[in-house]
């Protein structure tokens, strides 16, 4: 509130600023009292039950196995490491989920606006079915009803001795880069840099002469072709480690466990239904007049999309899209229901159970998700403030 004006008889209770200070003090007192109360309770309760506090437990040996880990992990590692393993697994499934959900969601959103009635209605069915069924149920469905129907390892479905699909998961060959593979990486980097340079050059040429240099094929060539050529010149320095059936299971190669597949399927499909709606409304929000105006100026179909429709609809799409990404990340915690070893499952689940350090563990777990959310929202607000259409 701005400066008020003095004078007159000001009785204190009627001064709005004093009132506001008073209310705020009361609010602080309530919140502080509440926290003090529960902390006090927690302390007495934990003391009474002989529960130790603190983060010391993180250095203790975990002693249990985790089926999927992106970093080296054995049972002798510490709980701190199980935390990292879980976090990485959460990030892995979230990132891939986001990637696929975006693709499927955009396809469905665009299908929803197709000129083909049948496609439009099919997309509508897809959206209405999948977003109105609980995600957990979808996860169960994929895991317990669909993937469970796959054959046993000995009867795997196979593709060319390289890919095997069975109830234990999907097995794929693992690429082992040999000597000289580094050159391929260098070529790839060179390709990316080259493409960027070409992009800058093309822009300059267009500004100066108006000539439009085609970008698609050269970029493709530089980013994919160049590394490929280098790869073959270097004598194909890449070997594959094929999965083999040894004893009970396939070993070697890359294994994708069914828990992961089920979670990924369910997250992708569920979220893509929401993304499709986001995309549809984003595109519909660009008025028909805009496309008409662009056509009337003689822009081609592709230019219309690239220069007019997409830039405008992306502004509308991106904030709710980010929300969906956050939802997906949070929803990945349902992994615990089927035993995919994500953060909640290994840390807030097994670790909590082994150590009994409920407060610390839940606190850390929530902290992780909260950090992800807040950082993303902050980035989003920044983006919005940059991209908001300027009005008067």
């Amino acid at each position: 509130m701005s400066n008020g004006k003095k004078g007159g008889v000001t009785s204190l209770i009627y001064d709005p600023r004093l009132r506001s200070i008073f209310f705020q003090l009361v609010a602080i007192a309530c919140v502080a009292g509440f926290f003090w109360h529960i902390l006090d309770n927690a302390n007495t309760n934990m003391a009474a039950r002989g529960i130790t506090t603190g983060f010391g437990f993180l250095d203790n040996q975990a002693g249990f196995g985790i089926i999927q880990s992106l970093i080296d992990y054995t049972e002798t590692d510490t709980y701190a490491r199980t935390f990292t393993v879980g976090l990485l697994n959460t990030l892995l499934v979230s990132m891939l989920g986001i990637f696929f959900a975006t693709i499927v969601g955009f396809l469905m959103g665009i299908a929803r606006l197709s000129s083909n009635w049948l496609i439009r209605k099919l997309a509508l069915c897809y959206i209405e079915v999948f977003r109105n069924i609980p995600l957990l149920l979808q996860i169960f469905f994929w895991y317990f009803a669909v993937l469970r129907a796959l054959p046993s390892p000995r009867m795997s479905m196979e593709m060319g001795d390289a890919f095997f699909l069975n109830i234990r998961g999907l097995y794929m060959p693992e690429p082992i880069p040999g000597a000289g593979f580094d050159y391929v990486w260098i070529a790839l980097i060179a390709g990316v840099v080259g493409s960027y340079a070409l992009y800058r050059y093309a822009k300059k040429i267009q500004a100066e002469t108006g000539r439009i240099i085609p970008m698609f094929l050269p970029t493709l060539g530089m980013i994919i072709g160049l590394p490929l050529i280098v790869f073959f010149i270097a004598g194909s320095p890449l070997s594959w480690e094929y999965p083999v059936l040894k004893g009970f299971n396939f070993t070697d190669g890359i294994t994708i466990i069914p828990e992961f597949l089920a979670l990924l399927f369910a997250l992708t499909i569920y979220t893509s239904a929401f993304i499709a709606e986001v995309v549809r409304s984003g595109i519909e929000a660009v008025s028909h007049g805009q496309t008409e105006a662009a056509s009337a100026l003689g822009l081609t179909n592709g230019q219309r999309l690239r220069l007019i429709v997409i830039p405008q609809s992306m502004r509308i799409i991106i904030p709710p899209l980010t929300n969906q990404y956050l939802n997906l990340t949070k929803n990945s915690s349902l992994a615990t229901a089927i035993g995919y070893p994500d953060l909640v499952s290994v840390f807030a689940g097994t670790t909590l159970n082994q150590t009994g350090q409920a407060v610390e563990i839940i606190f850390m777990t929530m902290g992780v998700y909260l950090t992800i959310s807040l950082v993303t929202s902050a980035a989003m607000n920044y983006y919005n403030s940059r991209k908001a259409l300027i009005e008067r």
Binding site: N45, I362, S373
Partner: protein, 382 residues
């Protein structure tokens, strides 16, 4: 004016220049109207679309054929035990046999009438609220939000009015799902209103407290909240406080949900034009009277679609209580599926749950979309 040859000033006169008669409408060229026109325009208007149409038709045919075959033609419906499932199709007998359990959970079968009454009352409330032609929406709303919960509480729990007490550990199935969602919404609404008002307050500390609360709960997954409620809440309570598992879950859900509700309420408050606040102030109404008499009554109406949408989200999310060991609809079906007495019935079971959830969520979302459309046209003119 540029010089234009004089003959152009009298343009070629059409034949009907002297006596204008409206031409009759002609029918459009045959291939652009009617069913054929529609099919051409909507299904086969280009090569790409034709291919898409054919592919889509093929898939629809496949799916429909499979479902007809598995779910209807070859399905078993008669009988009441696993032995009745002999054919290759779906075993709907399973659903039939377990249906009461799916709906009522472990509620004692002699007392099930109580749940039925609750369902009946609930349907009564909903019909009263949703059907436009029924007057007295305000009273229905008050009944639903205030009286119905009390009635339902005593009906379900018993222990008073001569009703046998049925502990919450025997609640389950669809009725539990409904209870979780209802309580979640009804309890989070007032908290959400307070939070939203706080978030719009001019007092920085109150505002930041509310923002912190809202952003905190919106930033964490519900499942961690449920974990917290089930694992940590007992630690935070004074020793010896009786904490029923269901109550703890409900506390968690309510805290979580109130943050989302606060955002819905805020949306409603923001939609009220500034002039309404000013007019109320100019009439001498203080903050609480202004809010209670002018702003909230209008905002609440605008919030209904938002509330329904939150309700849908919550309704789906209640299935997570399975993870902390409550037997909602999904959990009870899930555990029934593992019954060794029944053969492979997981697809049937999941389909049944999916169908129940879908029907509820889909009809609610249609309702909220209808309301949104109504408000988007209605409010401007009002």
């Amino acid at each position: 004016m540029p010089n234009i040859p004089s003959d152009t000033l009298t343009p070629p006169q059409p034949e009907n220049a002297t006596g204008y008669k409206p031409l009759p409408d002609r029918a459009a060229p045959g291939n652009t109207v009617g069913i054929i026109g529609w099919v051409r325009a909507n299904l086969f208007n280009s090569v790409g679309n034709t291919i898409l149409t054919l592919i889509a038709l093929y898939f629809i045919y496949q799916a429909a054929a499979w479902f007809l075959d598995w779910g209807i033609i070859n399905a078993d419906l008669a009988g009441d035990s696993a032995e009745a499932c002999t054919s290759s199709g779906a075993c709907w007998v399973f659903i039939k046999a377990r249906f009461p359990q799916f709906i009522y959970g472990f509620y004692p079968s002699d007392e099930v009438w109580r749940i039925n009454i609750m369902f009946g009352l609930f349907a009564f409330c909903i019909i009263g609220l949703v059907v436009d032609s029924i007057p007295g929406k305000k009273w229905f709303a008050i009944f639903t939000l205030v009286i119905f919960p009390v009635l339902a509480y005593y009906l379900m729990l018993g222990g008073a009015f001569g009703l046998e007490k049925v502990g919450t550990h025997r609640w389950g199935g669809f009725s539990l799902t409904l209870i979780l969602a209802m309580v979640g919404i009804v309890a989070s609404l007032p908290i959400g209103i307070v939070l939203a008002l706080g978030r719009r307050s001019e007092m920085p500390i109150v505002r930041s407290i509310c923002i912190t609360y809202i952003e905190f709960w919106r930033g964490v997954p519900l499942i961690t909240v449920l974990f917290m409620a089930s694992v940590m809440l007992p630690l935070f309570m004074t020793a010896g406080t009786d904490t029923d598992k269901l109550v703890r879950a409900l506390i968690g859900i309510t805290m979580f949900q109130s943050a989302y509700m606060a955002e819905v309420v805020r949306g409603g408050l923001q939609a009220i034009p500034k002039g309404q606040y000013e007019a109320a102030e100019a009439l001498g109404l203080g903050y609480w009277k202004k809010t209670g008499l002018i702003i909230l009554p209008q905002a609440l109406k605008l919030m209904i679609p938002g509330i329904v949408n939150t309700f849908i989200a919550l309704f789906k999310d209640t299935s997570l209580v399975l993870i902390i060991g409550l037997f909602d609809l999904l959990a009870i079906v899930q555990s029934a599926i593992t019954d060794p007495n029944w053969p492979q019935v997981s697809v049937e079971g999941y389909l049944f749950v999916a169908f129940m959830f879908w029907i509820c969520c889909f009809s609610m979302s249609q309702y909220s979309q209808r309301l949104e459309r109504k408000f988007s046209t209605g409010h401007k003119t009002a």
